[in-house]
């Protein structure tokens, strides 16, 4: 049978990344159930409202802007004023505060005898009594109209903020899952990553507190301290690698031991306490954004791109797959097994360390309790992503999809108000389902006769 290249590429895509469809399905489902009326707020709401006002009211109309003092409302008020002034309207007042402030502003206008054409509100201030019934209190202004941003229908799930939130929430797990994917493809497992999160976070924050100058630490010293945390985790990974290669200790055992050791070290280092003495700038990695994209998400994307290239284009990736697929055949083909395994375990440790720094930055503190059970979530992401625990098979991008599936389910359940205990049950079942699919991929198709058909086609 002649297989056309596009057909082949399509088939391989489905085989490798079939989980994409599950992810899309989940997104569609949660979009549907969270479809709700949206009230534009902040700058976005202001821009929409400015357009309406500019169209409906002539130039030199007098506008009073009424907003609360929350940061979102302040942004709303500021943006709206800018836009209206730009459009040539006369902004007679901007209220950023309580109903009392609004009353005062209206009072001022009446007292100064100025005219008022428009009261620009957002969804919440439009409901203030003073605004709703202004005509009764200030009859001289009765001709003014109240305008507010128009509401529209859109899924809560699909709001940009929520999607970025989903990505940000999963960043730590997804970053560590890169290393775990590599380890699992070689046929091993690394249980120590959860504890390494804590170790790295504690080392970094301790060093910042004790040597970097605490809350006044400079950027350079923060970077150095964070790198120390990452390196320490890399060393733990390297040690696990040595044990696996030179002493042939099963990876499950040695990383289980390292899980306890790293966790204990984190508690000792932090004396059982959380460490909060870090400068405000420390949250740049975990909470900061560049061009609207959270830095942690950016880091995650960069690391995935690099890992994908490594696994698909580079000799190291080829070796990793070969070792997991058939270690003896790989050895007899001259693959430097020990070197590659050492590298893989070290990389896994380093990535766990990076994950720890991201988490410390997100939470602006370091604590030895960070990362509890995370190794299991990481393994779940890898497995849901289609990587076989028996090794030799799997894709780094599949793991990203797996991590996103977990994040989407969690986020969707949060949005739909599923309580956290139920969430655990659902997540557990999802992981089970993924493993079942993996088994079916190996055996089920042959039971169904598909595998045989394919085999008979071979010369």
């Amino acid at each position: 049978m002649i297989v056309s290249p596009t057909n082949l590429a399509m088939r391989r895509f489905v085989a490798d990344y079939g989980m994409v469809f599950v992810l899309l399905l989940l997104c569609a489902y949660y979009s549907w159930v969270t479809y709700a009326e949206q009230n534009p707020t902040g700058s976005a709401g202001a821009r929409q409202l400015a357009g309406v006002i500019l169209r409906q009211f002539g130039k030199s109309s007098a506008v009073l802007i009424v907003a609360r003092d929350s940061s979102e409302d302040v942004a709303f008020a500021e943006t709206l004023r800018e836009q209206l002034v730009e459009g040539g309207l006369n902004v007679v007042g901007v209220v950023k505060g309580q109903p009392l402030d609004a009353r005062q502003a209206l009072q001022n206008i009446v007292e100064q005898g100025r005219k008022l054409d428009v009261i620009a509100c957002n969804q919440s201030t439009a409901l203030w009594t003073v605004v709703e019934q202004f005509a009764d209190n200030f009859p001289s202004l009765a001709s003014a109209k109240i305008v507010k941003p128009r509401s529209y229908w859109w899924p809560n799930f699909l709001k940009t903020d929520n999607l970025l939130n989903v990505a940000n929430q999963i960043a730590v797990i997804a970053i560590i899952a890169i290393g775990m994917t590599m380890v699992i493809i070689t046929g091993g497992i690394d249980l120590s990553v959860g504890s390494l999160i804590a170790l790295s976070a504690v080392i970094a924050t301790c060093l910042i507190r004790d040597m970097g100058g605490g809350e006044t630490a400079s950027t350079a010293s923060m970077i150095l301290c964070s790198m120390a945390g990452v390196c320490a985790c890399g060393l733990v990974g390297f040690f696990s690698g040595i044990m696996v290669t030179l002493f042939a200790i099963p990876s499950f055992i040695i990383t289980l031991a390292m899980m306890l050791v790293a966790s204990g070290l984190a508690f000792i280092g932090a004396k059982g306490q959380s460490i909060y003495q870090v400068p405000d700038a420390f949250v740049w990695l975990g909470r900061g954004t560049v061009w609207g994209i959270p830095n942690a998400v950016m880091l995650m994307v960069i690391l995935y791109a690099a890992a994908h290239v490594l696994m698909t284009r580079m000799t190291i990736g080829r070796y990793i797959y070969a070792i997991g697929g058939n270690r003896e055949a790989a050895r007899l083909s001259g693959v430097p097994i020990k070197r590659i395994l050492l590298l893989v375990y070290t990389v896994c440790g380093v990535l766990a360390g990076i994950g720890g720094i991201v988490m410390a930055s997100q939470l602006k503190s370091g604590s030895p309790t960070y990362g509890g059970m995370y190794e299991l979530y990481v393994i779940a992401a890898v497995v849901v992503g289609g990587t076989s625990l028996s090794g030799g098979e799997g894709k780094v991008l599949g793991t990203l999809i797996g991590a996103l599936i977990i994040a989407v389910i969690q986020n969707g359940m949060n949005l739909t108000g599923v309580e956290s205990y139920t969430q655990k049950v659902v997540l557990g079942l999802v992981i089970l389902g993924a493993v079942l699919v993996d088994r079916m991929k190996h055996r089920g198709w042959e039971w169904l006769g598909l595998g045989r058909k394919r085999a008979s086609r071979q010369p």
Partner: protein, 496 residues
């Protein structure tokens, strides 16, 4: 009257094929209560397949099996057991952590209310061991027993299953002489009530213990004779056949200087003081029975295992080989005996498999040069006539012959100076075999040194320039000119 002439077991016209191999072609076998029947044949003659059919591990493609004149179907090991057939394999089926008693009664515990009645079980075990006349502590885990004792446990287990036919596959392979004589005493005792099939390569033992002998060759039943009526020479002749039946396209290349020189290679008891050389353009055939240390020797040369002592030289330069990587760099290639478990990463594409030992050439700064690799592989696909739909084909979905060619392509691309072929034609079809032979000729003509390990006597005779025979880890003898060799001569060296 029928009771006297009906044999305990009769197998008639047993047929069995595996992909690429016709393992059994209408084999007949008869066994009476009260006799020991020796089953004899070269490696790959079909003995193991026949035994596995009897044990229910394989289903025959054709033929009839009768017990006491009653036709029976053996579809699974459980049915074989129920039918009264017990097979004692070379690799025992005992669970090391369980005690003797637990092993014997595994799956048939005396536990009416869920609680095991140790007392009762111990009595049953004692009775069994009394019958074979040995005492063993029933409460010792089997892992702590010697091989000979474990074998006794297996025999007791067979008796506890009320087996009427007991098959023993190479039972003396790892026994000490006193253990062997005790085993023989037990067999002589058992055969009064049982029929025993005894498989062994050791002719001495067969003459000592067997009543009759059935010889298989290439899946065919060659002869069944009472042991008193055959001589040793006759048996060897029956095993190897009279002439080479296959055509070998051997072309003799000009034989040059010594290239690969192996001196005093040792590893435990597997390889004992092995020394030989392979010259340029020469095909050195290395043969012997399974377990004689041929593959083990090859693995030492290739760095797959570490030798205890010994040196390896290539073109007069001593090689320092610690792992296969070193060997490959020195210009040695190994076509392993089991391509599925050692030659290929089955779950990856054929191109990736081809590329594994050649990545140093087909990569730059750690990045694989895919196009270069694809072009290089395409040349071999054409040159070796590898039939694949595309280069991304997974290795596991290929026939044996095509898989073997992929492994060959790996080493051809590296242009190895020394090539070790371990059972190069095992399990591949006639056409692919022929192509492998032509390739060996071509490599020899290029002046490469070729070490060909094979259990197939005609292949060794047909393709080698010189032949080495190994026995029990050591070189048993050398036949300087393969043209002057006979299968009988090789077999004599191999069995000792």
């Amino acid at each position: 009257m029928p009771d006297l002439t009906t044999p305990l077991l009769r197998m008639r016209g047993i047929e069995k094929s595996f992909p690429g191999v016709h393992a059994l072609r209408g084999v007949d076998l008869e066994l009476q209560t009260g006799e020991v029947l020796a089953l004899l044949g070269e490696n790959g003659a079909g003995k193991s397949t026949l035994v596995k059919i009897l044990a229910g591990a394989h289903l025959p493609d054709g033929g009839v099996i009768e017990m006491d004149g009653q036709e029976m179907a053996i579809a699974s090991p459980v049915e074989a057991q129920r039918g009264g057939i017990a097979v004692i394999y070379q690799e025992f089926n005992l669970i090391p952590a369980l005690t003797v008693r637990e092993n014997i009664l595994l799956g048939r515990e005396r536990n009416p209310a869920g609680f095991i009645r140790r007392q009762e079980e111990s009595l049953a075990a004692k009775e069994l061991f009394d019958r074979i006349g040995v005492g063993i502590d029933f409460d010792v885990p089997c892992g702590q027993l010697s091989v000979g004792q474990q074998q006794l446990v297996e025999i007791a287990k067979a008796l506890s299953l009320k087996a009427r036919i007991i098959v023993m596959d190479e039972p003396t392979a790892s026994l000490t002489p006193p253990e062997v004589s005790r085993l023989f005493a037990i067999i002589r005792d058992l055969k009064t009530q049982h029929g025993i099939i005894y498989i062994s390569h050791r002719l001495d033992e067969i003459f000592e213990i067997a009543d009759r002998v059935t010889v298989l060759r290439d899946g065919l039943h060659v002869a069944t004779r009472p042991i008193d009526e055959v001589s040793r020479e006759e048996l060897i002749e029956l095993m190897v056949g009279r002439q080479i039946e296959q055509e070998f396209p051997k072309q003799r290349a000009i034989i040059g200087a010594e290239r690969l020189v192996v001196k005093n290679l040792c590893r435990a008891s597997d390889v004992r003081n092995v020394s030989f050389c392979v010259r340029g353009g020469e095909v050195l055939g290395l043969t012997g029975l399974v377990g004689a240390g041929r593959t083990e020797t090859a693995r030492l040369i290739f760095g797959a295992d570490r030798p205890d002592s010994g040196t390896i030289e290539l073109d007069g330069k001593r090689l320092d080989i610690h792992n296969p990587r070193d060997a490959i760099r020195a210009g040695i290639g190994l076509l392993p005996e089991d391509r599925k478990s050692q030659g290929l990463v089955l779950g990856r594409s054929v191109r990736e498999n081809f590329g594994l030992p050649n990545l140093s050439r087909n990569s730059r700064w750690g990045f694989v040069l895919k196009d270069q690799e694809r072009d290089a592989f395409a040349l071999h696909v054409t040159g070796l006539d590898i039939r694949i739909p595309h280069q991304e084909q997974l290795a596991k979905n290929l026939s044996g012959g095509n898989q073997q060619k992929i492994v060959l392509a790996k080493w051809l691309e590296r242009n190895c100076e020394v090539l070790i072929f371990d059972e190069p034609t095992r399990g591949i079809d006639v056409g692919a075999k022929h192509e492998v032979y032509l390739l060996i000729n071509r490599l020899a003509a290029q002046g490469k040194a070729i070490l060909m390990i094979s259990s197939e006597m005609p292949e060794v005779l047909g393709m080698s320039d010189r032949i080495l025979v190994m026995r029990d880890g050591a070189i048993a003898g050398e036949i300087p000119d393969a043209r002057a060799a006979t299968q009988q001569a090789i077999m004599k060296l191999a069995v000792g």
